[in-house]
């Protein structure tokens, strides 16, 4: 998979949609992130011009919220919980297993933009510790053995591959 090409017509459309609203910046950035999967740094200038804000201000907002990313993310995002409960229940093993499985480190995105691996401070699912999220789904009571099958669900099927 490759990155979706930056389509300035699409950016303009999103800008137009939000430009005249009150407090438009964050919804606009969310719109862009939804469209492209991340916030391409090149859009900062057109956004700044449209909203009459300085580019540094917009970058500041993007960098403040961890929900925004200036680097492209994979198609699927895995978030491994490293909160206290999960830590006690062995989240470190979970993390090292998934690192091996995806062949990327935490905070990284695979070269084919298929996966991104992140750690989070708490998913709020301590009763399921150790827990992780894949895209918008929760997986709890994990053990290193279960990781393989979870990752497999998010692997694109190639011709000749068997269903797992």
């Amino acid at each position: 998979m490759t990155l979706p090409e930056l389509n300035s017509a699409k950016v303009d459309k999103i800008i137009k949609k939000h430009k005249y609203n009150r407090w438009p910046l964050i919804p606009l950035l969310q719109g862009i992130q939804d469209e492209f999967g991340y916030i391409p740094p090149e859009v900062i200038y057109p956004v700044a011009n449209a909203l009459n804000l300085s580019p540094s201000k917009i970058q500041g907002v993007i960098e403040f919220y961890s929900g925004f990313s200036l680097t492209p993310k994979g198609k699927h995002v895995f978030k491994v919980c490293c909160g206290t409960a999960c830590h006690v229940k062995g989240s470190r093993n979970i993390l090292s297993t998934i690192k091996k499985e995806l062949q990327i480190k935490e905070g990284e995105t695979s070269e084919d933009y298929q996966y991104t691996l992140e750690t989070v401070a708490c998913l709020g699912a301590c009763f399921l510790a150790p827990a992780m999220m894949a895209d918008k789904n929760y997986y709890g009571r994990l053990s290193p053995g279960k990781i393989g099958s979870i990752v497999a669900q998010y692997t694109p099927k190639k011709k000749g591959d068997k269903d797992v």
Binding site: N52, L53, S54, S56, K57, Q59, G60, E63, F64
Partner: protein
């Protein structure tokens, strides 16, 4: 206004509602420490050092962001409060790099000062890891993030005061630091190097790159900047008898506040340049050789007297400077009129629009004489005409941006106003074959006509304060929307929008320096005045007219009468009362006839009629078309040049008298606001040089005119009605505004401001050889023709090399790319330059910066046919590409 009563440390205090506790305390002399607060900035509450205790609830409140409430009891220095403040400082210190020994902030560091006040000696905490991001090297501003305490002052001054917004916080939590977008260099993110962030920074996190070696200056000296017409108050840092630093002054109600500009802040190093003149010199056998002051001054006087005796006073000319002080200019014209007996005196102000500013002052009866920048936000609409003020008088630009953020509308009509584009409500470029000034005139008249058609003019104002209105209505008829649109190439609705934006509004106009020095500029200023009168803007109603003045004392040199047709105080030489007054003051006869302007002097010198020229502080070889001037100067029998630098003109002199730069002398400057500001010496004159006033004094003594002492001359000046304000002891005063007897009831027609008819016979015939229009622009790093700024090493560090800006459309037509070299030619000469294509630039216009490459752009102009004014800002040119082999022109661009 509702007031609130509360108790501050047991003291009963009354203040306006919504006053912050901090401000109330400050007004009542109670000191509260703070690192993030600045009176010019909105309250922010970042550092929490200003905490105070509410006695009733025991709560700790950040006093800079907490308004007082009724009957509240506030304690500012209880043990608890002090303890908390100490802890805050300790935490800051734990994160601060221990580099005080080599920190350039030195004793000016606010963190250190407050730590000392709170008696925090050691923080006794584990030091935290410093944030040590390597920031891109910058030739001017050094950023050390390990010293940042996150007060946010730099971010806020950049946004609130300067309107640039280069910096903002990046990341969050402990990693949070002020940063440019993408961590780019400052220059790439649009920083103009005004230095406001350095001045605001409480610690050494922001400092001048050049300053690190000298550290804290030994002493500081309050003064006035000597570059552009804004008249910023500055504070010179002096180390070892040399100026090593310039900062904005800390005194109250200055025009600049915390900001300066790149020139004011960094170009001061010309003062210590190698080109400074240190010894008086006389030309012997073609070589300038150093002599003693006695010998130099005696020779000047003897030779001048000999020539006057032989050829009469008309054979001698004086050329004063719009950069020298009021006192020097006053003495200079007195020297010319009394000692030499000639009216052949002029100054360099004509090059920068003095003639039109003078006209405007006369036409408005002085109503726009005092135009404070801080009044800009009283106008509903600000109209900026011509070149952006941002590059000539940057501080005015900051004020415009601030006014816009306070709610004024901004209309920008000019060849390149990319800097203000972001702030403007409407923006227009002169288009079509019209010359830019004709475009502005027709457009403004069209707007005026539309306002009258819709009966949106301010009739009450017009009846009370103006005359000739009926005639105005008649001739304005010819500027109907159709014909205006046809001539200017605008669409009807564009015109409609503009007119709607100005109807029934108070308008302030900013007139760019290109208009003020163009042959058709007079029409623009008249159209501006007519529109101001139609809308009832000027004369104390909030609107004003701001002609951009790029020279520090253009106003003052005109007021002091270094003009062929005017006496001190803006009175005509032809006025017998004025002549009688000055004859009495000077105890001498004053020549009645109008003298020669500088351009006329040059013609007279070429024809051999003028034998002597005494030039003080000007460099006509660089400011005028060079070959013509040097031919003329070479024919003179005596050329005396009094200057601070070995300029092009100085190297032709027969006698060279080394003068003093503003930092090295005393006197006063009158700014474009109409503010008269006094200053004194920060350092001694360079080498064996002498203060200009002293030189003039000694010359006039030798010419037999009883010289006045400095304070006597200052006393004389303060008797001029316009300068009455100068007599006080304070450092600053304002020009006296005209007093109208009774403007509301008195119907004396002479005191009413007239509408002026405008004849536009727009010349739209385009010579095929010169299809484009060149506008001579100024770049941020140069002042005037760049005699001083090109001697500044600091200015040479900037990446700006004087590229010509061309619209992308023309670029495409001629197959040009950014970085190509082109030959630009006019009827009189040609220059070579590299170009930069810019989208959105006007199609027919080229912007050629002044002052680069020894200001050779003047080769495109001829000495003016029009004797009265000097027009070196707009001309028709042709353009052709030069093959890439010729690179010699690109070396040493800043010189």
């Amino acid at each position: 206004m509702k007031t609130v009563t509360f108790f501050l440390d047991k003291q009963k205090i009354q203040c306006a509602r919504d006053t912050m506790i901090f401000d109330a305390a400050e007004q009542n002399g109670v000191y509260i420490p703070s690192l993030c607060r600045h009176p010019d900035l909105k309250p922010y509450g970042a550092c929490r050092l200003c905490i105070v205790e509410d006695a009733a609830s025991g709560k700790l409140l950040a006093s800079c962001v907490t308004p007082v409430s009724d009957r509240q009891e506030i304690l500012t220095s209880t043990k608890r409060v002090i303890n908390h403040r100490r802890n805050i400082i300790r935490l800051m210190m734990a994160e601060h790099s221990e580099s005080c020994l080599v920190c350039s902030k030195g004793n000016r560091c606010l963190l250190r000062k407050i730590a000392a006040e709170l008696e925090v000696a050691q923080q006794d905490l584990y030091p935290m890891p410093f944030v040590s991001a390597t920031l891109p090297y910058d030739p001017f501003i050094q950023r050390d993030q390990a010293k940042c305490i996150l007060c946010g002052k730099c971010i806020r001054v950049c946004k609130e005061l300067v309107g640039c917004g280069v910096l903002d916080y990046s990341k969050r939590g402990i990693k949070s630091r002020p940063s440019t977008a993408f961590g780019q260099s400052l220059e790439a993110s649009g920083c103009t190097y005004c230095g406001a962030c350095i001045a605001a920074c409480p610690t050494g996190a922001l400092a001048k790159s050049s300053e690190t070696i000298t550290g804290t200056p030994q002493r500081v000296h309050e003064s006035v900047c000597g570059f552009c017409g804004v008249g910023c108050r500055i504070s010179y840092g002096v180390t070892g008898g040399r100026i090593t630093d310039v900062e904005p002054s800390r005194s109250a109600s200055t025009v600049n506040g915390l900001s300066l500009c790149i020139k004011g802040q960094f170009a001061f190093d010309y003062l210590n340049s190698e080109s400074r003149l240190t010894e008086p010199m006389i030309r012997n056998d073609g070589e300038l050789t150093p002599v003693s002051w006695e010998e130099a001054l005696d020779t000047v006087a003897d030779r001048m007297l000999a020539i006057i005796n032989e050829h009469g006073p008309q054979s001698i000319g004086f050329y004063g400077s719009s950069k020298c002080t009021n006192e020097e200019n006053y003495l200079f014209q007195k020297l010319a009129r009394v000692a030499a007996g000639t009216s052949n005196i002029d100054n360099g102000g004509a090059l920068y629009g003095r003639t039109l500013i003078k006209d405007l002052d006369k036409a408005t009866c002085g109503l726009t004489r005092v135009n404070r920048f801080s009044d800009l936000d009283k106008a509903d609409v600000i109209v900026v005409l011509g070149l952006s003020p941002g590059r000539t008088v940057p501080v005015l630009n900051y004020h415009i941006k601030r006014a816009v953020s306070n709610g004024s509308d901004l209309i920008v009509i000019g060849p390149d106003n990319s800097e203000l584009a972001q702030y403007s409500t409407h923006m227009l470029c002169p288009s079509g074959p019209l010359s830019p000034c004709d475009f502005y005139t027709i457009l403004l008249c069209g707007i005026g006509s539309d306002i009258c058609r819709n009966q949106k003019e301010d009739l009450q104002y017009i009846n009370l304060f103006t005359r000739n209105y009926e005639e105005q209505i008649e001739w304005l008829e010819s500027f109907d929307p159709e014909s205006v649109c046809e001539k200017t190439g605008l669409r009807a609705e564009q015109l409609k929008q503009l007119s709607k934006c100005m109807q029934k509004k108070i308008i302030s106009f900013v007139i760019g320096s290109d208009i003020l020095t163009d042959a058709n500029g007079r029409n623009v200023t008249r159209a501006v005045l007519n529109l101001s009168l139609l809308t009832g803007s000027i004369g104390g109603f909030g609107g004003n007219i701001y002609p951009v003045v790029p020279e520090n004392n253009l106003t003052g040199s005109w007021d002091m009468g270094t003009l062929p047709d005017m006496l001190p105080g803006r009175v005509d030489l032809s006025d017998p009362d004025a002549r009688r007054f000055f004859s009495k003051v000077w105890d001498a006869d004053i020549p009645k006839t109008k003298g020669l302007t500088f351009d006329e002097m040059i013609r007279a010198a070429s024809s051999g009629e003028l034998k002597v020229l005494y030039i003080m502080g000007e460099n006509p070889l660089r400011t005028h078309p060079r070959t013509l001037i040097s031919e003329a100067l070479n024919r003179l029998e005596l050329l005396v040049v009094q200057d601070v630098l070995l300029s092009e003109t100085a190297s032709l002199a027969h006698i060279l008298l080394p003068g003093a730069a503003p930092a090295e002398k005393r006197g006063s400057f009158t700014s474009m606001e109409g503010r008269i500001q006094r200053f004194t010496h920060a350092v001694f004159p360079f080498g064996n040089a002498m203060e200009d006033f002293e030189i003039l004094r000694q010359v006039s003594e030798r010419l037999g005119m009883p010289p006045g002492l400095f304070f006597e001359i200052q006393e004389e000046i303060s008797h001029i009605p316009l300068y009455r304000g100068l007599s006080g002891n304070s450092g600053g005063a304002w020009l006296r505004k005209p007093v109208f007897k009774n403007r509301i009831t008195d119907d004396a027609e002479s005191e009413k401001v007239p509408f002026t008819k405008i004849n536009t016979e727009a010349d739209i015939k385009v010579d095929d050889r010169f299809p484009l229009t060149a506008v001579i622009d100024t770049r941020l790093i140069h002042c005037g023709s760049g005699t001083r700024t090109s001697c500044s090493e600091n200015m040479g560090k900037t990446p700006w090399k004087g590229e010509v800006i061309i619209s992308e459309t023309i670029g495409k037509e001629l197959d040009l790319a950014t970085g190509d070299t082109v030959r630009i030619f006019s009827e009189t000469g040609e220059i070579k330059r590299t170009i930069r294509l810019q989208s959105g630039a006007a199609r027919h216009l080229l912007l050629i910066p002044r002052a680069f490459y020894e200001n050779d752009v003047m080769a495109l102009f001829q000495l003016d046919k029009n004797m009265e004014t000097t027009h070196y800002s707009i001309c028709r040119v042709g353009l052709e590409k030069v093959m890439a082999t010729n690179k010699e022109n690109q070396v040493g661009g800043n010189k």
